[in-house]
């Protein structure tokens, strides 16, 4: 039986907001995560998604919804998959974490 914590929709937040640096050029962002030393190249969707998380804890559905508005021509299923993949990758490198 699942606990309430695992069944509740996950909201994501930036692990340490002060530890994230970013610059954008021509719609492509380069983000540096200070604790890990990782530097990531983010496309427009990834950068916008990370920006929304940095603005405050937010759930997957809301992120997908916002991304769909940014890119109305893209199928929702594609965007949903991209956002979930991105969240997993950002969590793996410690940039984001579930909001407790």
């Amino acid at each position: 039986m699942s606990s309430p914590a695992t069944t509740a929709p996950v909201r994501w937040r930036v692990a340490c907001p002060g530890d994230l640096r970013g610059r954008s050029w021509d719609g492509v962002s380069v983000v540096h995560h200070v604790p890990s030393g990782d530097t990531q190249l983010l496309n427009a969707l990834a950068a916008a998604t990370l920006q929304r998380i940095a603005a405050g804890a937010i759930g997957v559905e809301a992120l997908v919804e916002a991304a769909c508005k940014d890119q109305p021509a893209q199928p929702r299923a594609d965007i949903d998959r991209q956002v979930r993949t991105l969240l997993a990758e950002l969590a793996d490198v410690g940039i984001i974490e579930p909001d407790a």
């Binding site: 994230l20 640096r21 970013g22 610059r23 954008s24 050029w25 021509d26 492509v28 962002s29 380069v30 983000v31 540096h32 200070v34 030393g37 530097t39 190249l41 983010l42 950068a47 916008a48 990370l50 920006q51 940095a54």
Partner: protein, 336 residues
């Protein structure tokens, strides 16, 4: 006093005991007890300032013979700060290896700078940063620009960027050329002082070209000849290709340069911010070329445009290129 003020006999004698030479911001004691290497260095380092023995040395390097009475090639050893470094080398290859040792010192020690793997040339105080994969023609182009194009050499191998100012400090060493580029440069720029040709190195046949006196003079001026990065240009030689300059995506330029930098990771957030500021301040291009004159013309045109923009827009040399009026890109800065 510069090296050329000494007679060659005096130079050879001093080199056996150690001569302190200024290379950009660094004081380097060089001890060479290999006569053929000292002779070549007299030619290559003629315009470098000689320092009195300083209290603090940045690098203490030496190339000494290894005693050998058996068969096989004569060998030599390289030393850094009195400690033998690397495997023994065949004496015939001591000159390029000693030059490599000097580069290694600059690649691996001065972490007060962000150290990018790139050639850098400048017109006035505007610098062009030329990253390039091996074989891209970076050194050949760099030689052409400084010996035939009126640009000055900051370095053939490293861009030393000061984090607090974003300026690039010159640390010029003789430019290393290899294989096919050697006869091209020898024929095109016969006035360029060229060291002896050394065969059988890991890079094939190599020669070194002396840093022009004008570049050395600029590096000795007040401010050390520092320059503001204005262009990042990825050169690529293609035989027979027409010259072509195309905008390069800045974010990709950032990632390429960061991946090849010597201490980007070591400097952490400072490295990131410093490189981001460099990219912010520069126009980024891919340059394809086959003819050196055509490539020089492209560089001259960029400098001319920047100078015109600077004269019509005060302060544009130190600002974002989007403010200079000649920017091929738009730039935004944000925190995701």
């Amino acid at each position: 006093m510069i090296v050329g003020d000494l007679s060659i006999d005096d130079w050879q004698h001093r080199m056996t005991r150690g001569v302190v030479v200024r290379i950009g911001p660094f004081t380097v004691r060089m001890t060479v007890r290999l006569r053929e290497v000292a002779d070549a260095m007299y030619l290559l380092y003629r315009d470098y300032p000689i320092q009195p023995e300083p209290i603090v040395l940045d690098f203490d390097v030496a190339a000494l013979p290894i005693s050998w009475w058996g068969r096989g090639p004569r060998m030599a050893a390289l030393y850094f700060d009195g400690v033998r470094k690397f495997d023994p080398i065949e004496r015939e290859q001591a000159l390029p290896m000693f030059q490599w040792l000097l580069n290694w010192c600059i690649f691996t020690h001065p972490h007060q700078y962000l150290i990018l793997h790139s050639a850098v040339v400048a017109r006035d105080d505007m610098a062009a940063v030329l990253p390039g994969m091996p074989g891209a023609g970076k050194s050949t182009l760099c030689t052409a620009l400084v010996h035939g194009g009126g640009w000055r050499l900051l370095s053939d191998e490293v861009a030393l960027v000061t984090p607090s100012t974003g300026l690039i400090t010159p640390a010029p060493l003789p430019i290393g050329l290899k294989e096919e580029s050697i006869p091209v440069i020898a024929a095109t720029y016969p006035h360029a002082r060229m060291g002896p040709s050394v065969r059988g190195t890991r890079k094939g046949t190599v020669v070194h070209i002396a840093t022009p006196a004008s570049s050395m003079a600029a590096a000795s001026e007040a401010g050390g000849g520092q320059a503001q990065p204005r262009w990042i240009i990825f050169p690529e030689y293609h035989a027979g290709a027409r010259v072509q300059l195309e905008p390069a995506p800045r974010a990709n330029a950032f990632m390429t340069i960061a991946a090849d930098a010597f201490n980007y990771s070591l400097l952490g957030a400072t490295g990131y911010e410093t490189l981001a500021n460099v990219v912010d301040a520069c126009h980024c291009f891919n340059l394809q070329y086959s003819q050196l004159d055509d490539a020089i013309a492209v560089f001259d045109q960029l400098a001319s445009q920047a100078s015109s923009a600077a004269s019509s827009s005060a302060g544009s040399l130190t600002g974002s290129p989007t403010g200079s009026g000649d920017a091929p890109h738009s730039t935004s800065r944000g925190r995701p």
